[in-house]
Every structure is written in structure tokens, then in C-alpha cells.
Point group: C2
Chain length 444, copies 2
Amino acid sequence: MSDYIKDKKIEDINIGIIGFGYIASCVYSLIREQRDYLAKKIKKNINIARIAEKDLKKIDSSSLAGLKDIKISSSASDVLQDESIDIVVELVGGIDPAYDYVHEALSSGKYVVTANKDLLANKGGDLFAAAEKNNVDLLFEASVGGGIPIIGPLKSSLASNNINEIIGIVNGTTNYILTRMEKDNLSFDEALKKAQELGYAEKSNPSSDIEGYDSACKLAILSSIAFNSRVTLKDVYKEGITGVSSDDIRNALDMGYRIKLLAIGIEENSEISVRVHPALIPADHILASIEDTFNAVYVYGNYVGEMMSYGRGAGDRPTASSVVGDIVKIARNFDRNKKGIIYGCSCFENKKFKSIDDTVSKFYILMDVVDKPGVLARIAEVFGKNSVSIESMVQKQRDKKKSAGLIFITHEVVNKNLSKSIKDISELDVVNEVLSVIRVEDLS
Amino acid sequence: MSDYIKDKKIEDINIGIIGFGYIASCVYSLIREQRDYLAKKIKKNINIARIAEKDLKKIDSSSLAGLKDIKISSSASDVLQDESIDIVVELVGGIDPAYDYVHEALSSGKYVVTANKDLLANKGGDLFAAAEKNNVDLLFEASVGGGIPIIGPLKSSLASNNINEIIGIVNGTTNYILTRMEKDNLSFDEALKKAQELGYAEKSNPSSDIEGYDSACKLAILSSIAFNSRVTLKDVYKEGITGVSSDDIRNALDMGYRIKLLAIGIEENSEISVRVHPALIPADHILASIEDTFNAVYVYGNYVGEMMSYGRGAGDRPTASSVVGDIVKIARNFDRNKKGIIYGCSCFENKKFKSIDDTVSKFYILMDVVDKPGVLARIAEVFGKNSVSIESMVQKQRDKKKSAGLIFITHEVVNKNLSKSIKDISELDVVNEVLSVIRVEDLS
């Protein structure tokens, strides 16, 4: 015990942790290691009072100091029904049974801190309503961007801004894969294998990351805050990076671009566009310098202008930093009798979504065509018929005999027109294959 | 009035603004423009009740809508003595009389929001003590990095971290000058002139920016929070960018570096090192991509790892965004009877400072020497005698006849040894001039 704690009588804030895996054991260690430090800062004792974990074998009390003094049980109810618990830290993950745990905690007037992106992206609306009804809050900084403070700034320092645009690189696995494909000249499969070896991608089923599901959850959470209107996972258009080839990355570099998996939320004329897809972005834009497993969230607000937060988007220590940061926000002015909302939900509007078909983008298109005169004219005719206008075209010799690679960059076109033109072009006898269609975001 | 405000009875939070210049009139406009929006978000009305401005001519009520309905006076006392004012926004700038205004406001139980870096870097300790004594808070997000949220994140989301290092590019004027010297191949004087023409640098006296004073104030503020120990302006070592030449920028680029004016705070073994100086940093580090008037603050914490916030470091709209962000933090859970501290001062330690003489750095040194055999041996001898070890040396032919340019990069050396060696080398008859001595920060 520090001198500070001996000298002054300070209040305990009692924490109950539900789910004791990789992140939770780091949250536990952090709070134990920094308890005196935090007590000096916030004049409260953060006290882990209970832990519930269905699989008791996960809790190895011999390896974590002090764990034997804490009430541990296999039933979440033991945490939820303990009236002395002020804050429930939900680290079970997934929607079921996490939803029930969080709902019950909020309904009984407990604050909740969670890192659970799936839960919030799917059922956030219900849970924030339960929090408001009970005059407590549900905080979730760790659900997006690991250790990067972005939810807090959007809710407080930037609160007066109309956010027009939010662009995230919010999945470290895919950013690592794309970075290594570029820097080490690897194929997608080779880079994925490397990510799996290093523990950045799941071995059995990496699809949540590489298909864009993880980014889409995070975008739903960020966009709900940015646009003051509930965005759920099903509202987000998503494309992963499995179709991005080494050729695409080389071609992009040659034209001054890098390829990143972006999570883009835009509000225009009270209509929200939310989409996750790979994109070519200018190599000199700051988002292009986000490499390997780093994450960044770029925001454009009508007063603040451009703003970006950058850091470690995953890992136990950065995530624990955000979880404990949320505990600190609640604990600092904690009043057990009065409770009160820290940030609250700001989805007071009900905005429409713009369909991906009606979205306007520039596109990069790589196709393999028969190498003979007149081919370009036939392709250009199809683009023209579909109102797709071309900004630039480059021909590249390909390996196969009698075939050529054509790279097009379009002007801004309506997505459905582009789709129609690609379908028609694929059917031309002079076109062997349309190899890649990737959006271009000039971020200007 | 919005429907929301008509439907529900929500509390007014009364703001008094002291000092009505460039920033304050934007704060006024922002609050007026976003009042309904904020009311929906935070369930409070932000109400500008009074404005005090010594020079009443500055207040052009014809140009700002609604201003004629607000109580305006030339005396700060009218704001300070109005018991209905909940939050005083101090935008007078400078230390005197701002110190008295802020102290009086806090002493009478009013919250204070300020953008005043000089005041906090010089007299912060006194003012935070007054705030704590009166159970209110003094918030200052706008004092560092304009619109970038960095004070809030350090105080809340990152609160559990021991911050080991904080590196800022916190002066837009100097960053603009260095960027333009590099990109447009300008001399320092040409780039300064351009910055002055564009309003980025003061015309009459740009020294506060280019001599590092502005960055040093901001570093004192950031370091006090990061290291939980009061750092004032006088504790900060500072060197400006007036000695950086086009040659230095070219040479740096050739070696894979860019030159930035850094504000560096490091804590090691409970000793604080705080220094502002230009430095060569690796061109592929994310801080090297901060260009023109943008600012960034890079933090290393023991849990979060590397984290960076980036954005517009100056200008009326970004600064107003942060000022109103602070108002929002106070207003959200405002309790007129109970008051309460939002973040509070965390300078609960009293750490020692490391002298710049004892600091260890790498150095870039450019000198003009007589072009004849044996010169290098004589210079190397002086370095050796002073325990300065050389990592690399490049010779460059210079314009003048019979003279050569030598570029040295040292290994890490104690600053006082480097200074002694430079003094001795300057006195060698084979050395025409030591042109530049700039630190190298590898940021690894």
C-alpha cells in the first residue's frame, strides 16, 4: 500500500469482471500494478472485487499475484447480483450471452465497461437505452482501435463538431497483410500465412478480419457516434482484401497510391454512407503511412478540420489501457447514490442510408485482354454506354502470350453503372478476364 | 429554438467570456451555431450570458448575429462578479492580467476554460491549487495542439499508463517553414517570409515561434500531465530553428532523415528531461509525415505503447472546437450546488530535472574545413579526446575553393562532451567554420 492510501481514507470503486481470457487477465494485472498510481490521480481505489469465468480452468491463480484473495466463480450471476459491485467489466465477447449480462448489469444500476464490438455493432441501441433508463453509462473505448483514444474524443473534445467524414484503418491483421505484400513482395496467401505465424491472424478461421467483418463492426460503432444516428452491422457494405493481388499493389505504387482496407463513414445531405473495402489512397496522405498492425482513425469535423488518432489497434496491453481508462472516467466523480451518465448515447437522429449502388467512387480496374488492335475501342464503348468516364489507362505486357494487361482509373462514377460496365466488359470476346476492381479514394 | 428545446425543460449553463479577439468570436459563433445540436447531445443549454472586452471597439455587434442580446462590458469584473456565471472562458492571453482573472474566477467557485499556454506554463501550479481548493476545474485542451484532443486523452483514456516519453510537433509556424524549405528548396528567410505572408507567422516579431518559446510552453503543459510533476517554462531547454539551413535539410534527406522542431519530454529513473530543438528524424517515422501547419503529439505509455494524435494545431475554428469541448465536459454533469473536479491536477510528484548538459543524444555536425590531407585526423583526435564517437562521416565539396564540407553523425554522446569538442574543433586552424550542430533522434 502506498503512503497516499495509508494517509487518506479514499473510497473503493468495486469492479466485477465477467469473462477471464487474454484481455481480462491483463486488465487485472494493470489494475493491480497501477492501483496506487491511479489512487493518487483520481482519489479512488479501483478494487477488483469479483471475477466470473465459465471455464474456471482459465483462471490460474498461481500465475497472477493476489488472485487468491478475490471472489471467483463460474457464474456471471454472482457478479451481476452482488450489490457492492459498481462497475461490471464485460470481456466475454460475442453477442450471446454477453447481451444478457450487460443488459442485466445496466438494469440493476451498474455501470458497464466493454471491449465487445460485435455486441455494440449489433445490439448497441437496446443497451444504451437500458443505460439511460437506469441513469448509468456503458463505455466502450476498447471496442475500436484497441488503445487509441477515439470514442472519448468524439464524445467530448470534438462534441461540438458536425462530423462529415470518418475514415478508419481499424483492422491490424489486414493492414499487416497489405503492408507485407507491398514491402516484402508477398502474395496474399504468403502474407496471411506470415500473419498467422505471428499470431496476428486467426489460424483456424481468419475470415472475420480478412473479409472485413471486424472493420465493419468498428465502423458501425464509430459512425453511430459521428453521425448521431444508430448504425448497425447490417447497414455497413463490406468487401474484404482477399481479392487484392501483388499486381494490384505494384500497379498502385507505380501510380502513386497505396492499397489499404478502409472503413469509411460519410454523411452528406443527412444521408449516411458506410462501407468497408480496400482502396487505393495517395501514397503521400498520412493514412498511407499507417503500417503493419497499427490502426488509425481519421475524422473530418466542421470546426476541428482534419484530425487523426493513431496507435496500437489490438493486443492485451493497449486494450487493457482503454478498458481501465473507461473505469477511470466512471470512478473519478463516482457517486453511488446519484449515479449519472458520463457521455450517454447521442443517436437522437434517424438518418437514411445511401445504398452502395448509388454511391459515387473512382475505380481502379485491371483486366487481361487479347493483344490486338481495336480492343481498347470495344472496351471504351462499353464504359461510355454505362456513363463510366476514364481518367487514365495504362497497358502492361503480361506473362501469357498474346495477352495484355490494361489498367484503368475511372473518374467518379455511380457504383451501379460501374458494376454494369464490368459485367458487360467481362462478356466481350476480346477480354480474357477482369482481374481486379478496387475503389480509389483521393482523400482530398 | 429547436423542437427538442421547446419540448423539454433543460438547464442553462451560463458562460462568461473574458477577452473577445479572433478566437473568442469564433467560440461565440460556434456556440450560437451549434447550441441546439449540443443541447440534444448533452441535455444542457450552453448560454453565453456575458462578454467582457477591454477594447469595446473589438466587438462589432453588427457582424455577429445575436450579440446585441448579450451583456457586454469593458470590465472583466462584470463577468467575475456575476454569480449566475458558471464557466468563465479566459481568452485574454498572456500572464498579466489573465492570471488574476482566472484566479478570481476559480476562487469564487466558477469553472474556467482557457487556451492560454503562457499562463499555464508559467503559473499553472498556483491555478490548479486554487481550482482544487474550490472544488472546480480549470480545463485547457486548446492550449496545446489547437483542435487536437490530447489533454483529455492523457487525463482519462490513457490515465493508467506510466508515460515514458512524449514527442510533439506543436508549433505550426516552424513546421510550415521547415516543410517549405524542404519541398520548395527555400532558405530559412524565404520560408519565413512566405509564412508571414500567409499569416502563419507574426510579421512584427516571429520570435515566439521560431525561437521555440511557443513549443516550450506547450511541452511544459504536456510534460506536467505525462510525468505527474509540475514542469514550468523555465525548466525547458530550448533551441529554435533559425540556425537550420537549406544545406542541413538537403544533407538530412540524403541520409534518410527529415528535420523537425521537436518538443521532447522523457522520464527516466524518475528524472525528467524536457527540451525543444530541431532534430533529424528518420524519414519513414510517422512524425516525419507531419507537414506544413499540422501538429502532432506522439506518446509512449507502458500499456498503450505508441500513440499519436494529429490535426490542426492553430486557427480559430480548431481552437474553438477544443474550447467548446471543454465547456461540454463541464456542462454534461454540471451540478451547481455540488460542483466537482473533472480531471484535476495530477502533479502529485516532485521529480528532478536532468540538465541538458548531461543529456545523451546523437548529433549531426556540418563543418567547412581546409581541403588538404590530415584534416580529418586532427578533427577526429579532438572528438576522441572528448569521448565523442563517430557513427558516419561524409565529405562534400563546397562552393569555395580549397574548402570542403564535412558531415558527421555521432553515436550517442553526452551533450557537454559534444559542446566541448565543438568548441575545440572551431579553434583548429584547419577548420574554417562549424556551420551546424543539430541533434539526431532515431525514435526507435
